[in-house]
Symmetry: C2
Subunit: 345 residues, 2 copies
């Protein structure tokens, strides 16, 4: 089932809870697309007594709470437009890896929520729910996490060996291809599992980072956001604090597909029809702060590198981003993809 790399738990200064404003801003910019997408495409029956929503890769909040409120608001609006005299009872399933900090997620649940709340531990690359049990499946900024980095990247005999780098930007073509192939495998298992779980008339809504059509993985990627971290690591290799083999065997399991690539994978899977496949409104994105970088990557770095290098690594980080401007939308790196899928009957 691959590995798990949870966002940093708790509610301290390096937690995801305190460092997820970027994902929140991107999701907020998608709110009107989400609402109109639900109003246009969701089938909700007068007789529906229950309505189940799942957030796959929800992390620890608060973003997931805002998203779930937006979805329930849109479904409520749809019921009102249809003239239904009563609303279904809403259930919200919060999913993330077993190692996610569910205790913090539960402690922060909004007290005035209009739904029954459940936690669902496990990888979304496998099945998590009974057949046809979910009315809306939502996943925001989670599907760019691969189940694992492609294994050939660490193989010195492979043309996809990714020596001295931790990501595929500016890497040989084969490295980007290996990432692309891993993403295709992961999407296939993701879509196959969701096809079982989505109820008739239901929707799957995906927000994720992507790259412009017609570009290669090695050209456009999340690279600029990873670069400062990579630069700290390579400095530490030069200073012999980190050994060569340690960095050569480490690769970030993140991938941003083009819209065309994603479309092909969905069509190849064949279980879903594409109701929407669009880009999110463009926005400039600052390089991750040291807190944001820790909140996203500390767990995976600790897993691979020796614990004693972690503090040093993050001490070096602020100097790498000092004075650097945000990545502009016009640079073509920061495309956000917005997808709504319906189950093919």
């Amino acid at each position: 089932m691959g590995e798990s790399f949870p966002m940093t738990g708790g509610d301290g200064p390096h937690s995801y809870t305190k460092n997820s404003s970027l994902q929140r801003a991107a999701a907020a910019s998608a709110k009107s697309m989400l609402t109109s997408g639900i109003l246009e495409n969701l089938v909700v029956e007068h007789s529906s007594k229950m309505f189940a929503v799942a957030d796959l890769g929800c992390s620890t909040g608060p973003n997931t709470f805002i998203a779930m409120d937006n979805i329930i608001e849109a479904v409520t609006q749809k019921c009102e437009i249809k003239g239904y005299c009563s609303l279904p009872e809403f259930q919200v399933y919060f999913n993330d890896h077993v190692s996610n900090d569910f205790n913090i997620l539960f402690a922060n649940l909004p007290p005035d929520r209009k739904y029954f709340a459940f936690g669902v531990p496990g990888s979304f690359h496998g099945g998590l729910f009974p057949k046809a049990s979910l009315n809306i499946i939502y996943s925001a900024f989670a599907l760019h996490w691969l189940s694992r980095a492609p294994q050939e990247l660490g193989d010195v005999n492979s043309p996809a060996c990714n020596k001295g780098r931790i990501y595929y930007s500016n890497a040989p073509h084969e490295v980007g291809q290996a990432y692309s192939l891993q993403f295709a495998k992961d999407m296939e298992s993701f879509l196959a599992a969701r096809a079982e779980e989505l109820a008739p008339g239901g929707l799957m809504i995906i927000l994720m980072p992507g790259r412009p059509d017609g570009t290669l993985p090695s050209q456009n990627s999340l690279g600029p956001f990873i670069k400062p971290l990579e630069s700290c690591l390579t400095d530490m290799v030069d200073e012999e604090i980190i050994r060569n083999h340690e960095i050569d065997s480490f690769n970030m399991p993140l991938y941003s597909p083009s819209m065309e690539e994603l479309r092909k994978l969905i069509e190849k899977n064949g279980c879903f029809g594409i109701a929407r496949l669009e880009t999110l409104p463009p926005m400039s994105v600052p390089l991750p702060s040291v807190e944001a970088c820790r909140s996203g990557f500390e767990s995976i770095l600790r897993k691979h590198f020796r614990s004693e290098i972690i503090e040093q690594l993050f001490e070096r980080y602020p100097a790498k981003i000092a004075g650097k401007p945000p990545i502009k939308a016009s640079d073509g790196f920061t495309i956000g993809l917005f997808v709504i899928l319906k189950r093919n009957i």
Copy 2:
């Protein structure tokens, strides 16, 4: 909604995970009653695609995993006896207070489980699930926890003032009555919530400590198990380490009803028919070890007393139980109650 007193989390030496063998032994002794109770009383349809079980007050495991396996085994047997060619998909909802250690619960989920697993944070004295959404509701050794200790116990002007004690054994009649009244209120909110949630044909199965019919709360209770802890606390009052008002305002929110008392509360609520109301096989129960005592009571003690007295308190505890024999079944304290309820239509 009252207060929450979770079992000690984590998997350390004082955790519930490592100190729940007594509850496990009691539940194991009930396995055949549970199985025959399900076989005789559960209505499961050929057309049922999903089957939802909830464990209310599940704590952190492993007891809940064993119980859920036993229930699923019995339901499977029932389907086989009925000659159904396929089994429903099982969902198990693990419920406990928000402050329960769900992270440990999720980390310990059996990898070979035959169900989809969900965590449900919140008090079972309120609603937790949509209407008619559960096929079996199970609760073992959780309902003796009151939502709070009766407030009049700490009121010096009340005849139910419980000065110098932390429990109702050997207390004035009014103290036991106050506990009994609080239990009645809590059971009413528990039963009202469950009546909404139990699906037609479903069962509610309750295991809990009780006392023999015809005895008063002050005579027979969980008192012997609380006594060593109370004795440590009163010693510390005598030594002026704990102030009088601190112990006077502290009362254990635990209650063990008689079978007759429980029957009356269920009948008064009116939503359920009693399929079984029996005692569990008698067993001798050792006084709680210091680890077991911490696993159950450390959180509530820390909430009330100053943190600095906690270590001292538990250092004194082993001497209080040294050489003491187990509480024998024939003493009449250690009755276990076993209840199966059906929803009245």
